[in-house]
Symmetry: C2
Subunit: 388 residues, 2 copies
């Protein structure tokens, strides 16, 4: 079977895009992606929009039809893919299926969310609507799960609180070199550790911000990719999996089964193991999540993930750089865009287009996009065409 | 390539499901579908939910994760597919892609919507949020498009107003024989023609109701279907297409390009022509839409669709029965469920399970699901395995 290739990628600047709406952001990223690939809008036959909550946040639905209109991509088929905070990863999976099933020869995926026009309370309330009603009723929202899990992790595995803070420091430092990041500001460990408490032991700098933004990817069969460019990557593995929807039903809350299951499937599909991965974008909505994913993706034994940051392994000059883009932490987290933007970073790194963040000739990159508190997860592995 | 089969189908009673929520309805339809197929929940590897607006209507998101929880289907991958009123058809296309790409060996699709707890005004306002903002601002909502288009159609093609009324009469009569329909009440032509005006020339009985309900289908490769049952159908064609998002930009508002394009693709995929279709479920959200789809699917020349109802061709004993289920008109229209429920009717007719509505050994059935005012459309062709 022909492999599925990605021939274009783009993202808008992330941050506060006052005066613009989801529609504007999607069109900006979508047009830039087509431009990046040198592909005309009328060549697109499938158009997916990853978005969690435009109806709730803006009172506007039908975003896929609007985007088909704004790009002049009719009669391309369109649909919206929602998997809460992992909608972007789910969109990648939908786009892959669309090409792999031979339904499509050119699929454009655009993820986006417009959030900053709401107060933080309003925006987080929309996010909290994804939790099980019994959790929401008792006030156990995603940040409080993060606090509880961080406390358990630190206790269970004898990890220092500082290790979590160092994740924020690293990802902020990477964000400085990402011109599209929401925060291009380095922070030191004391700033993180002294920031206001949100959910003990986690503090303000352990959390990602509320963000507006959009990101896009263009998919086609590898045979088509070869005809139009020699600058493309292949999707060698992609899979998704769910964990319990009620977080307290998990046998071990420090293990994210959705990460384990989806990455097992993605590795098998790609015929890869964790050792083959040169770098990864992880879903650091909360700093603690970077450790959990690092372990559950097989990069470290359970309880040992925190040592990677202490040893510098996940820095840009380490052996397994994590979140070279700045991560959700400093790049920002426009829900439906985030999973797509993760893959945009992997694409740019693999093609040597990552500017000041560029790694040294990586061949295999991974993106892990987490919905809810690991309720649903997608893992994607991208490679250069000739990766060994 | 292995064909994609449907091995189970179900729908909840449609109507006013007071005291129940989307979550309850999805779980009811999903469990009944698995039961119909004799397949255990843990055999499901992909689980799609077709739903337009649970966040807007109920303040609850994350329905796919909730359903995976309620059916105990973890770690199955889940996502929500939204294409406004054609979310169900988009779900069928997603499920087909998932099996056809060999990502899945068993995909459960459950469509649903909970609407009746809202006032009609609140519910229709959520639906109207799918229109282009410039249309919404001027008060041109879906019912008013229907009125304008009906007026144009009647004038242009010299069709009698009564022909539209007869669509309502036929579909209500079919609904009497559908135990799951919202309205099991025959109406006569005078009742339709004398009902209150909604959007001239259309009256109350030209419109579908606000409905709660859910419907489900179970997909797998035909090779797997053969192992578990001899009662299955195959998806021989499925495709979707968009039309302009701004309705007044259409060259001819009585032609739905999304129907033309998606059915052309679906016929080609199935190696079928309109003449091969034995019966169809069309998206009669408004009576006028049944004529437009009838023509744009190639069942009649443009402007001749209204003659089919006058000649009795679309009745259950006609040569091309339309909406044997009662259609959206009398069965009801829970947005995300409707496209799935159309295919449930086709499945039951093909397998001889349609009870008092049963047609005489049909082999090829078609379902056309319309989003917005034709902004996005999916067409699905189902067949018995041995259809010639």
């Amino acid at each position: 079977m022909d492999r599925v290739a990605i021939v274009g990628a783009s993202m808008t600047p992330f941050g506060d895009r006052e005066g613009e709406w989801l529609r504007d952001l999607l069109a900006e990223a979508g047009a830039a992606c087509l431009d990046d690939a040198g592909v005309a809008a009328d060549a697109v036959d499938h158009l997916y929009v990853s978005n969690m909550a435009s109806g709730e946040l803006e009172g506007q639905t039908g975003a896929p039809n609007m985007l088909a209109h704004d790009l002049a991509a009719q009669p391309a088929y369109t649909a919206r893919i929602d998997q809460t905070s992992s909608s972007g990863g789910a969109g990648i999976y939908a786009a892959w299926q669309s090409v792999a099933s031979e339904a499509s020869e050119m699929t454009l995926l655009v993820g986006g969310e417009k959030m900053t026009h709401k107060t933080t309370g309003e925006a987080t309330d929309v996010i909290a609507s994804l939790t099980h009603p019994v959790e929401y009723k008792h006030g156990v929202t995603l940040p409080s799960f993060a606090g509880l899990t961080a406390r358990l992790y630190l206790d269970e595995y004898d990890a220092p609180r500082e290790s979590l803070g160092k994740v924020a420091v690293k990802n902020h430092r990477n964000g400085v070199d990402n011109p599209k990041a929401q925060f291009r500001k380095a922070v030191d460990l004391d700033t993180v550790l002294d920031s206001p408490i949100v959910a003990d032991p986690l503090r303000l700098y352990d959390f990602c911000p509320i963000t507006d933004g959009s990101a896009a990817l263009l998919f086609c069969p590898e045979s088509v990719a070869r005809e139009i460019t020699d600058e493309y990557v292949v999707v060698s593995g992609v899979a998704g999996a769910t964990d319990t929807h009620v977080v307290h039903e998990r046998a071990d809350p420090t293990t994210m089964r959705g990460v384990v299951e989806s990455s097992d499937q993605a590795y098998e599909m790609a015929d890869r193991s964790p050792e083959d991965v040169d770098f990864a974008e992880l879903h650091d909505m909360f700093t603690i999540l970077e450790f959990l994913q690092f372990e559950d993706l097989g990069f470290a034994e359970k309880g040992e993930g925190w040592k990677a940051i202490e040893e510098g392994r996940t820095e840009r000059d380490g052996d397994l750089p994590i979140n070279t883009s700045g991560g959700l932490k400093s790049k920002g987290h426009p829900l439906g865009a985030s999973g797509v933007a993760q893959a945009v970073e992997v694409y740019e790194q693999l093609l040597g287009e990552a500017g000041d963040r560029q790694l040294d000739d990586p061949e295999v990159g991974l993106a892990c996009n987490v919905g809810g508190f690991g309720n649903c997860v997608t893992t994607t592995i991208l490679e250069t065409p000739e990766a060994e």
